[in-house]
């Protein structure tokens, strides 16, 4: 674990950029340099940034599929279970066998959507490491501009390629300003 001379744990090295376009170009350079543990921060979403950062495909969709399928199976279980013997009801003389399934479709559809929506929301929270009370980037005073007009990029110290001189050099080359070490605590 990297420490500063004053004994603080190093979270990352951050740099500020003058515009979204500059941040976008910098992200491509950092991606090409092979860093894995890093992130960009901006007041608004930047179109094409996921590609510039080399993020690849998000697997949130996998969780949504999982949620949707479990919703479908839950609905099938709680509908077919009673209908096939647990608690038979005669509704309009409809059959008890499989062919009563059209009556079950609305619930199957709704639970699929509901569970899928829950899965997407909670998986999204989890994948983003949320909820959390604090983020080390807030230790950097300039970073408060991120919700206003600041564009930031931070390469984290846990990245295996992280060296103080190397990262500082890279951030300077990409046009980063106010390059600084951000404390963990």
């Amino acid at each position: 674990m990297m420490k500063t001379p004053f004994g603080h744990t190093v979270y990352a090295m951050g740099a500020e950029y003058p515009s979204a376009a500059a941040l976008y170009e910098a992200a491509k350079r950092v991606r090409d340099a092979g860093f894995r543990r890093w992130d960009v921060y901006s007041p608004f979403p930047i179109h094409g940034m996921d590609e510039a950062m080399g993020l690849g495909k998000s697997w949130l969709s996998g969780w949504v599929l999982f949620g949707g399928v479990s919703g479908l199976l839950t609905a099938a279980l709680v509908e077919f279970g009673p209908s096939w013997g647990l608690y038979r009801l005669d509704v309009h003389g409809k059959p008890w066998n499989f062919w009563t399934v059209p009556a079950f479709f609305p619930i199957m559809f709704e639970l699929t959507v509901l569970f899928g929506a829950f899965a997407s929301f909670f998986a999204w929270l989890g994948m983003n490491g949320l909820p959390r009370w604090y983020h080390p980037m807030f230790n950097w005073e300039r970073f408060s501009r991120v919700t206003n007009d600041g564009f930031f990029l931070a390469i984290e110290a846990r990245d295996p390629r992280f060296t103080e001189t190397g990262v500082r050099e890279l951030l300077e080359q990409t046009g980063g300003q106010h390059i600084t070490i951000v404390h963990e605590d």
């Binding site: 976008y24 930047i46 179109h47 094409g48 510039a52 495909k57 059209p102 009556a103 609305p106």
Partner: protein, 400 residues
């Protein structure tokens, strides 16, 4: 801020060389003439069967062309960017509605075989008499003229304005096309809904469903998007639109196929379930004919093949981004649309079970070959995409 380098297309656009496809055009023309003559013979040999077969073929191609018209007007009304590069083909297919209006004439001539309500005199059936204000021959013809006429005028106007914009790129044409489209949206909904009521639902004048028009629309929109995928892929196979239509456009077309696959199922099930659950004989008769005997197999195939199969496949992003695989799915959806129209029209004739007939096939080929022939004549007349559309560059740079 895309990383994809864009080659700006030549200002003249790309032109379809009809000489390269003279053989295909001749073949389609020949097949069209032969099958049309055969169908004319069929109208005397077996008029009852032929009239239903012809209506089935007409309904299939009408939904495809009307669907392409729908996508054109939605493009203008929503100011969409992505559609620009594929819009000319939508316009080309939509103007085929004029040919379909000619092919509607046999339905009028054979009307007594198709629509029983035309032959039942007043006073025989109270249920029918109460519908006479709507279901009478004069009004039927007037409506057909209004519906097909509106489609023809609007689709011709849109294509004409779009082609004229190719010469000077005046944004004025875009504004005009938007105006035509806004006027066309309610017209389209009205004409397609009541067209479906008139030509398909009134095959059984005792049956009615308020969902029927929407059901036809859902099938039309999804299958015409599939047709567009196939047409664009065919043009790319022939060496056109290579730098113009990208995987991103395929991705969006795939998403629309997916969306309308779900919408079709939603509407189809919405119509089915209310009727099935309420279990009222005057409503259930439609599904009773289609869910029993050998029709049951085809109905199940439709439910699985039109919804469950494509739904599961089109969930995958990789399929939507692969032109070849997406085209296979698109072909399958077109086949399912064919089956859908078959299941709407033919059980009205063969209530006791599936009765495949050579006239079904001949009618289908006759209408299809005629439209294909006209389409091949139409394509070379203008650039394959609107070269001077103000939003062409945005469309070329599409990322989603």
């Amino acid at each position: 801020m895309s990383e994809r380098s864009q080659t700006v297309p030549t200002p003249e656009g790309e032109y379809f060389e009809s000489s390269r496809f003279a053989g295909l055009s001749f073949l389609l023309g020949l097949v069209s003439v032969i099958t049309l003559v055969l169908c004319a013979v069929g109208a005397f040999v077996n008029p009852h069967q032929l009239s239903y077969s012809w209506l089935f073929a007409f309904a299939f191609f009408f939904t495809l062309c009307a669907g392409c018209f729908f996508w054109t007007i939605v493009h203008h009304a929503t100011d969409a960017e992505w559609t620009v590069v594929v819009r000319r083909q939508l316009e080309n297919i939509a103007v085929l509605l004029a040919v379909l209006a000619l092919l509607f004439v046999p339905i009028l001539l054979l009307r007594h075989h198709l629509y029983a309500w035309m032959d039942i005199p007043r006073g025989h059936e109270a249920a029918l008499d109460s519908k006479r204000a709507y279901l009478n021959f004069t009004f039927f013809v007037v409506r057909a003229i209004v519906f097909l006429g509106s489609f023809i005028v609007a689709s011709q106007l849109l294509r004409c304005l779009s082609v004229r914009q190719d010469t000077d790129g005046n944004p004025r044409f875009t504004i005009w096309m938007r105006r035509v489209s806004f006027a066309s949206l309610p017209m389209f909904a009205f004409c397609l809904t009541f067209g479906a009521f008139d030509w398909l639902m009134s095959l059984n004048y005792r049956w009615f469903s308020t969902m029927f028009g929407v059901y036809i629309f859902a099938g039309a929109a999804g299958s015409s998007m599939s047709l567009l995928v196939l047409v664009i892929t065919a043009l790319r196979q022939a060496g056109y639109l290579k730098d113009v239509v990208t995987v991103e456009h395929y991705h969006i077309m795939g998403k629309w196929m997916f969306a309308f696959c779900i919408f079709w199922a939603y509407i189809g099930f919405g119509q089915y379930m209310l009727i099935w659950y309420a279990n009222i004989p005057e409503e259930t008769q439609f599904f009773l004919a289609r869910n029993t005997q050998s029709w049951w197999v085809l109905s199940m195939l439709l439910v699985i093949g039109r919804f469950f199969g494509p739904f599961a496949i089109l969930l995958l992003r990789s399929i939507k981004k692969n032109p070849h695989q997406l085209s296979i799915v698109a072909g399958w959806i077109l086949f399912m649309q064919l089956l859908d129209m078959y299941l709407i029209v033919l059980p009205a004739l063969h209530g006791t079970g599936v009765h495949a007939s050579i006239w079904d096939l001949l009618s289908l080929i006759a209408v299809g070959a005629t439209l294909g022939f006209v389409y091949l004549r139409l394509v070379p007349r203008s650039s394959l995409f609107p070269v001077r559309d103000p939003r062409l560059i945005e469309s070329l740079k599409l990322v989603n």
